[in-house]
Symmetry: C2
Subunit: 362 residues, 2 copies
């Protein structure tokens, strides 16, 4: 490979500027393509919702919408190395998540007709500024990449580095349409081992359809202010995976407004309600079991009421042990692990695709 004098000078300077990753040039990820957005977020492009515009939402909901769950950067490069530098707002630790999923990065490369994982960005313990070589010794030639952002943190800055002599360019989103999923921590990504294994991310890669992650850990409670925000999300379909967080009474009080608001502001667009599986602890803990059964009953009753009222293009996916029957699909008794998520995708995806197909979303 030939280097120009300019490149050689840059390389020489880099030795002083970047002693750890000499020979790497960085670009700000904002120059590339951000995939998985539900709306524009002027305050910080790595937020999921414009929390200033929708200020009536509960503070905890607004906070969770600043997390970058489901977002990914699409780019191409011919570099043999991909490096990353990123800043997170927080430096905490979650007991049931890996730091990589919580505050780290997850790189996929397109190869052999599909997406393969190419490396993870491990955050530095107790720090907010992180840096690493995420992929190395790549085959020569140009490759497409998707870099998944942290599930449970706010990103303040993100740069992607490549060999000084290499090109790096924005690549269009590999996904078509826009299917918004609103819901709980399970949707949010707890407890995938890395961001690319959250179930909307897995379904996007395997179907080519853009599933947008509006999961809110502990707070997917169907508040009216959230329903009002969804009026402005220009989606081709809405999936409601929000049964786990609200109490049975909240399900009764809030489901009608949520569904009818979406129905009114997005006429003709399918709305799919998903019944959540019995949480694994429910097989030993009576209180958990009763709550899950009561939530299911309330959620399904609300679906039936809406159908009786003539709400159109509304669907329900019933649960059939979505994380399996061998009791090994949960990380912590509540959330799926990567095995549970795999089983959820096997169960949900064909049913979702069948419905979407009726609306030309395929």
């Amino acid at each position: 490979m030939k280097h120009s004098i300019f490149t050689v000078v840059i390389l020489a300077i880099s030795v002083f500027l970047l002693p750890v990753h000499a020979g790497i040039k960085y670009v700000d990820a904002s120059c590339l393509t951000l995939v998985g957005k539900g709306m524009s977020t002027p305050g910080n492009e790595y937020h999921r919702v414009d929390t200033a515009k929708y200020g009536d939402m509960p503070a905890s909901v607004k906070h969770l919408f600043t997390y970058s769950a489901g977002l990914a950067v699409s780019f191409k490069t011919n570099s043999s190395t991909v490096a990353v530098r990123w800043t997170t707002k927080g430096r905490g630790v979650m007991g049931n998540m890996t730091p990589i999923a919580h505050r780290g990065l997850d790189l996929y490369m397109y190869a052999g007709g599909g997406w393969i994982p190419a490396g993870v960005g491990t955050p530095l313990a107790g720090k907010t500024e992180h840096e690493c070589k995420i992929a190395q010794y790549l085959e020569s030639g140009e490759h497409k990449f998707l870099l998944y952002l942290p599930l449970f943190e706010e990103i303040l800055s993100l740069e992607i580095g490549v060999d000084s002599a290499a090109m790096i360019e924005a690549e269009p989103s590999p996904f078509r349409h826009k299917v918004l999923i609103y819901g709980s921590s399970i949707l949010h990504g707890a407890c995938a081992s890395r961001a690319g294994l959250a179930y909307p991310a897995r379904m996007s890669r395997s179907t080519g359809i853009n599933f947008v992650n509006f999961g809110l850990s502990g707070r997917g409670k169907m508040e009216a202010a959230v329903a009002d925000m969804l009026k402005d999300v220009d989606a081709d379909a809405f999936i409601l995976d929000c049964m786990p967080n609200p109490s049975p009474e909240e399900i009764v009080a809030r489901t009608q407004y949520l569904v009818k608001t979406i129905r009114e502001h997005h006429p003709g667009v399918p709305i799919i309600m998903i019944e959540t599986y019995m949480r694994e602890n429910g097989y030993s803990n009576r209180q958990v079991r009763e709550r899950c059964l009561d939530q299911s009953k309330a959620f399904i009753t609300q679906y039936e009421l809406l159908k009786e009222q003539g709400v159109e293009d509304l669907y329900l996916i019933r649960d059939h042990h979505a994380i399996g029957t061998d009791h090994e699909g949960s990380s912590d008794g509540t959330h799926p692990n990567d095995l549970g998520f795999d089983r959820m995708v096997q169960q949900y995806q064909p049913q979702i695709l069948d419905i979407l197909k009726k609306y030309g979303i395929e």
Copy 2:
């Protein structure tokens, strides 16, 4: 439930002594049954190997053998709540592991003819002393439990708490025979989301055979001092899942001594070598791919040489994409996630059982 005056007095005192978990009495786990041990360890019963006795092993190997990977406490109780108090030596964070798997606890309960997860013990961030109610609102009656200990930490103390009026007793190990597995971080449990999902633990629960975890993250390198230690392990079978850590040259230099030492000191006992899968990063990273291929070649050549030399009762399990072909079975490009471990169990377990059956181990 009737309480004696004595119980009421104890409860009243407990309110002052245990403000967080009032009404709970604790027993030291050393009074119960410890499952999954390879040998006795006088210095600390939650170690895996007596590191004083086998002082010639490398310091890093000795350190890793102080971790409680694969150990579990077997007990029964009629309590409606199970609480845990435990002390870990370290307080660190691993990027690719959940704190629950790293330093926490994982409780299984026997119900409906099988083992079901009943709760996890989440360690306190930055602390070495931890306490929580791990299971609550259990059905009345007596239940058997297995409490899995941390995969990547040394346990300094462990107490199990039950309702003041309840009984708690040692329960015999639910597993028969003793099959020792020696190997790498994959065996050790990286990156299961909790201790009970490491593959030896999964195989023990599903087969009833006692698989003992001698996994050493980054250090399953077949050193002669480790081979010498294995002379004293009274096992019914040995499985060698130690291909990932040694270099190809180390595999050539060390495999013969390891296998022949076991063969000589444990005549007639089966020895099963496992070829490791191509690490997921090997599909994008040329250097990783070449190293994996070279390791496989060296490992299989050593097996063939040993067979040619007439070493008896020696078996090889070849790899057939043990963590799957969809590229979703790894947490970090090297280690399986819970999905990868599930696929490994599906692939390894029937082959291992077929071999063990020939020796009456079933």
